[in-house]
């Protein structure tokens, strides 16, 4: 039922692409309680040297985590995940999350994935991504 149990080193994770709108950023700010004006106020964002408002890094990370969970067959399969917030994602852009299996634990069956997320402008938004997927039992 899931791709992961038979996964081998080199297998690609199913990519997930999601366009993030400013409305979505506002909804994320409300739901998360992170009201930093760099995400909400274009004038403020420009005042600190950004091209405009930027998407919350934690929203990007949530989409990356969802990509792993969809491929692995459930949120409960995701044991670890980390990344570097390298470049901002701007509202209206599409974030594409990709990854591949780089290790399979011969005893437990746990998978290690290398991950990256790029923007529709071609910027590497999330780099040094890494996740560990629990075996399906």
């Amino acid at each position: 039922m899931t791709a992961a149990p038979a996964a081998q080193v080199g297998d690609a994770m199913t990519a997930l692409a999601r366009t993030v709108s400013q409305d979505q950023v506002i909804a994320y700010a409300e739901a998360s309680g992170d009201h930093n004006p760099i995400h909400l106020d274009p004038e403020f964002a420009r005042g600190v040297g950004l091209p405009g408002t930027i998407v919350h890094g934690f929203l990007e990370m949530a989409i990356l985590t969802e990509a792993v969970a969809r491929w692995a067959g459930g949120f409960e399969r995701v044991a670890e995940l980390g990344c570097r917030f390298s470049k901002p994602l701007l509202p209206g852009e599409t974030l594409t999350c990709a990854g591949r299996v780089v290790a399979v634990d011969p005893v437990s069956g746990a998978l290690t994935l290398q991950l990256e997320a790029t923007s529709s402008r071609g910027e590497r938004v999330l780099t040094n991504g890494r996740a560990v997927v629990r075996p399906d039992h």
């Binding site: 999601r18 366009t19 993030v20 709108s21 979505q24 909804a27 994320y28 409300e30 739901a31 998360s32 309680g33 992170d34 930093n36 600190v48 890094g57 934690f58 929203l59 990370m61 949530a62 989409i63 985590t65 969802e66 969970a69 969809r70 459930g74 949120f75 409960e76 995701v78 044991a79 670890e80 995940l81 980390g82 990344c83 570097r84 917030f85 040094n128 890494r130």
Partner: protein, 137 residues
């Protein structure tokens, strides 16, 4: 300004309720209008809300540390989820300053995070790397 002497400082943000409505609003914001993945479960990245944000709020409120939100950049984030979080759980979040390093006028602060549920189980461990440009010179 944070300095290396602040390593080892600990902060507590107990009593973070995993409200089902808030989880639903969060999942909806992450999905951006699509059907949320695995509705009703707590997405792992919701740790940003129940662990990282409340713990960092305590850190920002420490006048002796003097870490300010203005000019702060979130460089890296990693999580481990040893046990699942369920709607209705009440989680105690805690943080520790792992290290403070200054290089070429930039100050890097590494924060260790942990969240424990009402049964005493660790549900999340995390590490946050922050970069501050420091005071105006």
């Amino acid at each position: 300004m944070p300095d290396p002497s602040h390593a080892g400082r600990r902060y507590a943000a107990p009593g973070q309720r995993i409200g089902p409505e808030r989880v639903a609003a969060y999942a909806s914001a992450v999905s951006g209008g699509e059907q949320p993945f695995s509705p009703g479960s707590v997405p792992p990245a919701f740790a940003a809300v129940y662990c990282v944000q409340p713990a960092l709020a305590e850190i920002f409120a420490d006048p002796d540390l003097g870490l300010e939100l203005a000019g702060l950049i979130h460089v890296e984030q990693s999580f481990e989820w040893p046990a699942p979080v369920h709607p209705g759980d009440v989680v105690d979040a805690a943080a520790e300053i792992i290290s403070v390093e200054t290089r070429r006028g930039l100050t890097f602060v590494t924060v260790g995070l942990e969240a424990t549920n009402q049964a005493g189980a660790t549900v999340c461990r995390g590490r946050t790397l922050l970069l501050t440009r420091g005071a105006v010179r």
